[in-house]
Symmetry: C2
Subunit: 498 residues, 2 copies
């Protein structure tokens, strides 16, 4: 067996362990009985440990060192080189950090998450502060071990959005912030509530919502032979190669389930579009978190919340839900695209969402550049909310304590949500130019062209190309927030008479 084949074998073994871990996690969030959490945590810790040991073993190191030699590289084709590059990256990120530090991070995270839950419940920032301080300190230490391009924060950005840096994100976010903030201010100043009373005071049968959601996912191209749709408090998608599962949640008082469904289906179509030849292969996965989010946001916002999709779906909704009898397509479309200031990121609309992210990115960068102390984050948060959205949360549970990410030590993750929206806009712009009559196909309920285009151009390449390279290949240029702004102006101009 050649050294390269050895690498592929290790990659497959790792994927088998990871897939098992994913199933344990899926089960934990769907069907696991409450009293089983202790055993489940132990099983997950065990498999994680096995995964870590295999990835960072001396055997893996030898193979990776060997394959990175000039003589070995000279004999490889493009795919092989990319495979070695990605496995080397996975290996390095783990191998360079001492085992002791990895164990400490795991312990600190467990404590910090538990403290965060309590702090949020009690709206008590001080309770969480020492844990935030510890997490920042640890993550700065880790960054030194991993290494970075310009500054420590880059080491963490690289985990979620390989190839990106703080500077690169800043250069994209800066113009975006100004544009979004002024658009939001203009919209809010109008004090308009476009659309009709579609949900107010009404009930929407949950079983019917489930049925409709099941049908929509199928229509969009989700393959139930290799997946299933279940319920979860926080909807998520779990990609396990030939088994890609969606979850969704249902609220009797509105039809938000339709949009969480199109969102998760977007994630799932990406996973189901990965080439089956590459299951277990180093390249057989998503490019980055931002690219994954671009797929979910595209199917949620560019498809699901579009006029054309509502044209297609509204008659069916009115058939299923009698309380929509007196509503119109147009009234429904405008209602589900209302823009409102909110404290809570996960409730934010398309216009304000990236401002919520920009705020978090500003703070993370400030912490890592030693320009902000952890104890200042609450005040900085409030000031930035005031600056970007003209509202100030009085309760830290609606402000600095609202997200789980920092308690879990996931610095560098937030930006990928915003990048997802930006990629989505830029990619969809290209798709519209390359697919004849895309909008009218969507209005007819035909999603094949878009799905196949995404599959051919993105999904099937796994992570052969880095995000920056893929964006260039796809759209002919680097990432630019202007497509996001253009999309919002085009869409919300008519809704809000801007």
């Amino acid at each position: 067996m050649s050294t390269y084949e050895d690498l592929l074998e290790i990659s497959e073994q790792l994927r088998n362990i990871q897939r098992s871990l994913y199933l344990l996690a899926w089960d934990e969030r769907t069907y696991m009985p409450e009293g089983a959490i202790e055993g489940r945590s132990e099983s997950k810790a065990e498999l994680s440990q096995i995964y870590h040991k295999k990835l960072t073993s001396e055997k893996t190191k030898k193979i990776i060192d060997e394959l990175n030699k000039e003589s070995a590289q000279a004999e490889m084709d493009e795919v092989q080189k990319a495979a070695v590059r990605e496995m080397t990256r996975d290996f390095q990120r783990r191998y360079k950090v001492p085992d002791e530090l990895i164990k400490e991070m795991s312990k600190v995270s467990t404590k910090a998450q538990s403290a965060w839950e309590k702090a949020r419940e009690k709206s008590d920032f001080e309770m969480f502060l020492p844990h935030l301080e510890k997490q920042v300190e640890l993550k700065k230490e880790v960054a030194e071990y991993i290494g970075y391009e310009n500054e420590p924060y880059d080491a963490h950005v690289d985990e979620y959005e390989p190839g990106f840096t703080a500077e690169k994100i800043e250069s994209v976010f800066e113009p975006m912030k100004k544009n979004l903030s002024s658009m939001a201010t203009e919209i809010f100043s109008k004090e308009l509530e476009p659309g009709e009373d579609v949900f107010e005071g009404k009930k929407f049968n949950v079983e019917k919502q489930k049925k409709v959601c099941r049908e929509i996912a199928g229509e969009l191209g989700y393959d139930y032979e290799h997946g299933r749709l279940d319920e979860a408090v926080h909807p998520f998608t779990m990609g396990m190669d030939d088994d890609v599962r969606i979850t969704n949640r249902y609220d009797e008082e509105n039809l938000n389930s339709l949009f969480s469904l199109t969102h998760e289906t977007g994630h799932a179509l990406y996973e189901q579009g990965l080439p089956s030849d590459w299951y277990g292969h180093p390249l057989g996965r998503r490019i980055s978190m931002g690219y994954h989010e671009s797929q979910s946001r595209m199917w949620e916002n560019f498809v699901g919340r579009s006029k054309e999709f509502i044209d297609h779906i509204f008659p069916k909704l009115r058939d299923e839900f009698p309380s929509l009898q007196n509503n119109t397509k147009d009234g429904f479309y405008k209602r589900i695209n209302r823009v409102k200031p909110t404290f809570i990121r996960v409730e934010a609309d398309e216009v304000t969402y990236n401002l919520h992210i920009a705020l978090r990115f500003d703070i993370e960068l400030g912490l890592f550049r030693d320009e902000i102390e952890a104890e200042e984050t609450k005040t900085v948060w409030e000031n930035k909310m005031d600056e970007y959205l003209d509202i100030v949360p009085e309760d830290p549970a609606d402000g600095v304590l609202q997200d789980i990410h920092w308690s879990a030590g996931q610095f560098g993750y937030f930006p990928t949500y915003a990048l997802g929206n930006l990629y989505a806009a830029q990619i969809y712009d290209t798709a519209e130019r390359e697919i004849d009559g895309l909008e009218s196909e969507i209005a007819k309920g035909n999603f094949d062209e878009l799905r196949n285009w995404l599959r051919e151009n993105i999904h099937e390449h796994g992570r052969k190309y880095k995000a920056t390279e893929m964006t260039k290949r796809l759209t002919g240029e680097g990432l630019d927030a202007k497509y996001h702004i253009d999309h919002l102006e085009e869409k919300y101009g008519p809704i809000y008479s801007l």
Copy 2:
């Protein structure tokens, strides 16, 4: 850390891996989408391999060798000695067999099971024969590596019913066979169909069956905080320490679901009764397959199919299922205890069940003692069916091809089903003597006394005692089929006016 603590640590690690494997298997049989079988098989194979390597590692060997030294044993208490004994047994059974042979068995089993499925479908014994021959040959080879008390078959009996041997089983089965066969013959000769038309031509709402089953499991003491009840084509129970899951199946045309439910609940109560301090401990599991089956059969037959339980449950059944309006408790009780000759083991009643097992045991022993050739099994099967039950299957799918076990190489497994029935009778006899008014408590729907008695006397001891020792401790004597016969005579005498 002491060597004994090292042993406990390995035991916990193994259990964490095993629990993950169990969840993968549970999911495969409940919720996994059809198209996910390939990835699932690979993940299971990977975790099995990791389990095997850890159990048979040189590190484990060193610890086990060390703990089996006289000096080490001298310092241990009873529990520690038992823990070392059981871990040593688990280790030896794996360590002694060469890896190559284990791999070959796995491959042969995969092929044989697939061939068996096709052969059964086509009722073609010749299609399966070469695989049966290969399995017997391999299992004889394995027996030589593992070692045995008197004869090769013992090596396999020991896997499922530690401490038992072919001879010991023979000495219990021989008198049992005669008694059962003459009881069955007498019953059949009466050509009686006791009870009423309870199911014939009726429908029983499946959702209501599910509701009733859920309630019954709860009444028997099944803990839903550490478990759940789902559907599966072949009902099974999965014990994962603090997470013990039952499955059941429902048929609109009868209420068999009630008895598969009490059966699986019996298994689950055993698993939920294991001491939580011993999760992951070498002793923290069931004594043997026969003992596990004794719990399921006790709750299914001694409780579920008893007059007292039917007294308790029938009013509720009549409330839920209008089609029982014209039936009586007594008619229902007799109907669910009808004795009929059948070709199929899994459809057999309490009286004939152990004869189906005796037949399989006879054949397995014949094969391993070189008294029967694989090619003769079909004919021997037919002759024995004629001898024991006075019926002869014309279709091998109803005869020698009906069970999956031989294709999976599970020789030595069948006897444990019969041992389960024998243990159940003998243990229940003791329980009745030790628990005041057990029958009337059951009639009142109070199962606490029985469950607690089983928990204290069996479940809480894990596998500290071997089956033979446990039987002696519990009932004051060795295993004896007479309790099974007595139970059947007492129960079926009145039903069939014997």
